[in-house]
């Protein structure tokens, strides 16, 4: 639990926590096997800056702009990606929800 708190202080959490318009830095993947492989192939590699772009009208999935492509992930799948929220993206400097 101490670890979780520490992670939260650093602003690290699952990708699904990013609201549309917010940017984040991929810090790790918690999935294994084929899902991890697939995420890596799609460009969700640690060190990648990405941004939540828009959310489906029904609330799920959310589209993320990552390495020049827009890719939609369901919340359950997006939770396999750990991100650090970009400090500026929470404030007024947040970019418009579109890339």
């Amino acid at each position: 639990m101490a670890r979780t708190n520490e992670a939260e202080r650093k602003g690290i959490g699952p990708l699904a926590l990013l609201a549309p318009g917010e940017a984040g830095l991929v810090v790790g993947l918690s999935a294994g096997g084929l899902v991890r492989r697939r995420l890596l192939d799609l460009g969700f590699v640690p060190g990648t800056v990405l941004r939540a772009v828009r959310r489906s009208p029904l609330g799920d999935p959310t589209a993320y702009s990552v390495r020049g492509a827009v890719i939609a992930l369901r919340a359950a799948d997006a939770n396999n990606i750990l991100v650090r929220r970009a400090p500026e993206s929470t404030g007024a400097t947040a970019a418009a929800p579109d890339d």
């Binding site: 294994g32 096997g33 492989r37 697939r38 890596l40 192939d41 460009g43 020049g68």
Partner: protein, 291 residues
């Protein structure tokens, strides 16, 4: 079989890579494969080159089969194969295993990586993998009209120098650059154009493990196969790659390299690699059970 990584998957009706490789390799008909990310214009290019009307909608995954057609260029015929769009050759989806198996095993005479100029970095990831697989490769830098419209200019000459393989800028929808592309393909095929692909250098311990694996893989494969790339995939725990190299078990791989693989997969005390496959033999698992 195309769908072999997908536990009894019913996808098997299309021709296999071996069938295609054999059928396509008519005498004097070099086989040219079009590889690339989804929506980079492969099918458009294919139609422009072959005159075949294959439908090209704008959604990923619409080409699930290999389409084949004949292109004529300066009096010579080429068999063009339109591969499904993929982000990588690691074969983590049906489309990817089709494309990857074709490139690694059917061994086309020339491979053209169709890259989207508006989104180069993502496309280069695949291009770098393809130049691991083969020397006879060119990059077709497509959609340069869109790139210009979006305000980014891409220097084809510099890209050529960086990759060590020919780069041809095209607009597939307008047929621009296709003549030069086919000239390049013809040159690669006849050997008048040679490439010196600048391959990615992995971390030192990874390279050491690869050097250990490659001879093992080579022994199990027909001559000319993409041994380095299959070694990379095997090292990454790709079951498909292990199946392709003749049902080699992971254990065999680990033991055969005298510890180099074990060192990498258990590296940094971070625990076992999650995606190591279970060994075929009775010994439970290979890789990193011990840590």
């Amino acid at each position: 079989m195309v769908g072999h990584h997908h536990g009894g998957s019913p996808v098997s009706d299309g021709p296999t890579w071996a069938d295609l490789g054999r059928a396509a390799r008519a005498p004097g008909h070099p086989v040219v494969a079009l590889a690339g990310n989804p929506n980079t214009g492969k099918s458009t290019l294919f139609n422009a080159l072959t005159g075949l009307r294959q439908h090209t909608g704008n959604w990923p995954g619409k080409t699930v089969l290999l389409a084949q057609g004949v292109a004529r260029h300066r009096g010579k015929s080429y068999t063009i194969v339109d591969l499904p769009g993929t982000y990588s050759l690691f074969a983590s989806s049906v489309e990817e295993s089709v494309a990857s198996d074709f490139l690694c095993l059917a061994r086309p005479d020339v491979t053209v990586v169709v890259a989207d100029a508006t989104c180069l970095e993502r496309n280069l990831n695949l291009a770098l993998q393809v130049i691991e697989v083969t020397d006879k490769v060119a990059v077709c830098l497509n959609l340069v009209d869109e790139a210009r419209r979006k305000g980014c200019e891409c220097d084809a000459t510099m890209l050529e120098a960086e990759l060590g393989v020919p780069v041809v800028a095209t607009v597939a929808t307008k047929g621009r650059g296709l003549g030069r592309l086919m000239d390049t393909v013809a040159g690669l095929n006849s050997g008048t154009i040679t490439t010196r692909p600048k391959r990615v250098v992995y971390d030192p311990d990874v390279e050491e493990a690869l050097a250990g694996i490659e001879p093992l893989v080579t022994r199990k494969l027909p001559p000319g196969a993409a041994t380095r790339w299959l070694a990379v995939r095997a090292l990454c725990g790709d079951m498909g790659a292990l199946e392709l190299v003749g049902d080699m078990s992971a254990l065999e791989l680990v033991d055969g390299t005298g510890g180099a693989v074990r060192k990498v997969t258990e590296g940094f005390g971070l625990g076992p690699a999650p995606s190591w496959p279970a060994a075929r033999s009775t010994t439970s698992t290979a890789g990193g059970k011990s840590s």
